[in-house]
């Protein structure tokens, strides 16, 4: 058994939910890179969304000021997170809601299952929610004999196909219209035989399929984009109206929310409701946003439960250099601009949080050791930071997590990796001018023994890269020769 350091915050437990992949990132990425259809679908979709985002962001003169505001609101909230959560609980309770506290995925799943059972229902409708995907709620409900129906179009596609989401905003981004048509034709009961792959026809098929479900649903499960500590108000930002259906028509609403989603005051939303839609779908505003506070007599669900989830968030908060990963508002702009994501897609990251933000968030939620390859799933090009509406410095955090990974390996007295050996050798070489000069000349000599591949254990580096030619002259040689000139 692994010794547990008492007093250290818990990470997300193993064996439940979707934060850990079965393969390391390089292995999964190699498979994904071989899928040409996937790369075409992703290239098409991400280039379209990048262009839209740039267009609507350019319209906003004070975009940088809004980013600063978003960053500082989140940082200020995290600095007193416990106090904001206590205020949120008080406000929700005062307005007729019930607040539950879940330390991890298992506890949250137990709470939600018990709440659904208490209603006597054996099915729930669901609004798209990253958090319930993270904790594997659908699987937990299924084990208890409760059917969960995803109602977001892309989540429906993923669920019908028994697949996993591959993008925060557009979970079926890895599928094109032809593939979606085939999934509907095969798995959707009562779908017209002549269904075409026109997106309008596909949306209409989803509308008809879910209509009866919405009108008869008694229990809904949602996530939340924001919660206001002052007032107890919850917000869900969406497009299709499936969110409104779930938040309005059923008798009972259960919302599962990560503790980092709280913001102090209503006024803070004037920032996030400008940043989020433009960064995510590239729209000036998303079609629908719903806000509700506890229970309103005669309007909407008369029973409201809010489940506050930790599942590794406190462990993330404890690392000062990593905690700003909790500032993420799930816009997915960093995925869309990432050259790595665009080529390998979301599944390769093995977590419901893919892309650059996933590479810094997943390892912190699970502990770095369980997602050790993710901090390396980046070229550190910095595009993600420029796109992030709350200015999360993802590249710096990736480097920090790589260092944490190395330190943890050292602590466990494992054999150092080839990279660690190489870095240690480089540090020794570069610490002394004469050694460094000799190394430069050595590299030049290597031109004669040239191959495009390095020998093991460095062959991993050249498996996917060409080895560059060492220069004919080192800088030092050039400088010395230059000094020799009269």
């Amino acid at each position: 058994m692994t010794p547990v350091d008492l007093g250290m915050p818990m990470v997300a437990p193993r064996g439940v939910g979707h934060l850990r992949g079965e393969q390391s990132f390089p292995d999964a990425a190699r498979t994904a890179l071989g899928n040409e259809q996937l790369r075409r679908n992703l290239g098409h979709a991400t280039s379209a969304i990048r262009a839209k985002r740039l267009r609507v962001v350019a319209e906003v003169d004070d975009w940088e000021q809004l980013r600063r505001a978003g960053e500082t609101i989140k940082a200020a909230t995290m600095a007193r997170l416990d106090e904001h959560l206590a205020r949120l609980e008080q406000a929700v309770t005062a307005r007729g809601g019930v607040v539950h506290w879940a330390r991890d995925a298992d506890e949250a799943n137990r709470i939600v299952t018990a709440l659904v059972r208490a209603t006597g229902c054996d099915e729930v409708v669901k609004v798209k929610s990253m958090t319930t995907q993270e904790i594997g709620l659908n699987e937990a409900l299924a084990d208890a004999g409760i059917a969960a129906y995803e109602t977001d179009l892309a989540e429906l596609i993923v669920q019908l196909d028994n697949d996993q989401p591959s993008h925060i905003l557009v979970p079926a981004i890895h599928r094109n219209r032809r593939e979606i048509r085939d999934i509907f034709a095969e798995h959707m009961p009562g779908v017209p035989a002549d269904l075409t792959d026109d997106p309008h026809a596909l949306a209409e098929a989803a509308r008809l399929h879910l209509r009866a479900k919405f009108l008869s649903a008694r229990v809904a499960v949602s996530g939340a984009n924001f919660a206001i500590a002052d007032t107890g108000t919850l917000l869900v930002v969406e497009s299709e109206g499936n969110g409104r259906m779930c938040l309005t028509l059923p008798e009972t609403l259960i919302t599962v929310m990560g503790i980092e989603k709280v913001v102090p005051s209503w006024r803070d939303l004037e920032v996030f409701l400008q940043l989020l839609p433009r960064s995510s779908t590239g729209e000036r505003m998303n079609p629908y946003t719903s806000a509700w506070t506890g229970v309103t007599p005669g309007d909407g669900p008369q029973e409201f439960h809010l489940v506050l989830l930790d599942n590794g968030r406190t462990a993330t908060l404890a690392d000062e250099a990593g905690r700003s990963a909790l500032h993420c508002i799930r816009c997915s702009a960093c995925l869309n601009v990432c050259p790595v994501y665009e080529r390998v897609g979301g599944h390769a990251y093995g977590s419901v949080y893919p892309g650059p933000i996933g590479a810094v968030l997943s390892p912190q939620l699970t502990g770095v050791e369980d997602n050790a390859s993710l901090p390396y799933a980046s070229s550190l090009c910095g595009a993600c930071f420029d796109a992030c509406p709350v200015r999360i410095d993802i590249p710096a955090m990736l480097v920090h997590l790589r260092a944490r990974h190395v330190e943890e390996r050292e602590k466990e007295h494992r054999l150092p990796s080839a990279e660690q050996v190489a870095m240690a050798a480089a540090a020794w070489t570069m610490a002394d001018g004469r050694r460094f000069a000799r190394a430069g000349r050595g590299a030049r000599l290597a031109r004669f023994a040239r191959g495009r591949r390095l020998p093991p254990p460095l062959s991993g580096w050249t498996a996917s890269r060409d080895l560059p030619d060492p220069p004919q002259h080192t800088f030092r040689d050039w400088w010395r020769d230059r000094d020799d000139q009269p």
């Binding site: 679908n41 206590a86 307005r95 179009l153 503790i259 004037e270 505003m285 629908y288 005669g298 406190t314």
Partner: protein, 203 residues
């Protein structure tokens, strides 16, 4: 120790006792056009068209009934909230707490709104008596919404400042839409597929 106590004390320990950073609010709190100005109304109309909502502009309040009647077209069962101003709809069915299935039998719904934001083309409903509970503007497939000029603000901060967060709020920016298939926007999924906004220019 309860989970609540355990989580709160873990969060307290993890966040440490560092200073709370100051929040930088250097962004614009107002837009370029004053609330209710002809420029703000014109911008709202432009943005609504961009979302493929239908828009009818009328000069004064006495033009509302004609515009609403035209917008409703062939709709025969027209739902209205209990507090809809007299004379907007000639033959409406007043919401009586209908079950979702009954709401599904309605052809259209006509409401007022709480506030509209021009820059983003957003209309907000706050469940006041002239707008009704949330379900009535959700289930019918056609929503006709009347916006008066004095309800139109330019920017998002101005819109938020006019709202009471403890009321049930629905922010609507164009008809129901999805971008889930190849990120191509398709209007019309689960919410009303037709949004028709009647703008009263001197309202």
């Amino acid at each position: 120790m309860t989970s609540r106590e355990a989580m709160l004390s873990a969060v307290r320990a993890a966040r440490g006792d560092g200073d709370v950073p100051e929040i930088e609010r250097a962004y614009a709190r107002t837009g370029s056009h004053p609330p209710g100005s002809p420029e703000a109304v014109a911008l709202l109309v432009d943005r609504l068209f961009d979302y493929r909502a239908r828009v009818t502009s009328v000069q004064r309040a006495d033009g509302i009934v004609g515009a609403v009647t035209d917008a409703l077209g062939e709709a025969s069962r027209v739902l209205v909230p209990v507090g809809l101003p007299e004379g907007w709809v000639t033959d409406g069915v007043v919401d009586d707490g209908f079950a979702p299935g009954d709401l599904d039998g309605m052809d259209a719904v006509v409401t007022a709104c709480a506030v509209a934001c021009a820059t983003t083309g957003t209309i907000v409903l706050d469940a006041s008596l002239d707008q009704g509970r949330r379900a009535i503007t959700l289930v019918p497939d056609h929503h006709v919404c009347v916006v008066r000029a004095n309800q139109v603000v330019d920017s998002v901060p101005e819109m938020m400042a006019r709202l009471d967060p403890t009321r049930p709020l629905t922010f609507i920016s164009g008809p129901s839409a999805t971008s889930d298939i190849e990120l191509q926007r398709v209007e019309g999924v689960h919410g009303p597929r037709r949004l028709h906004v009647v703008v009263v220019v001197e309202g």
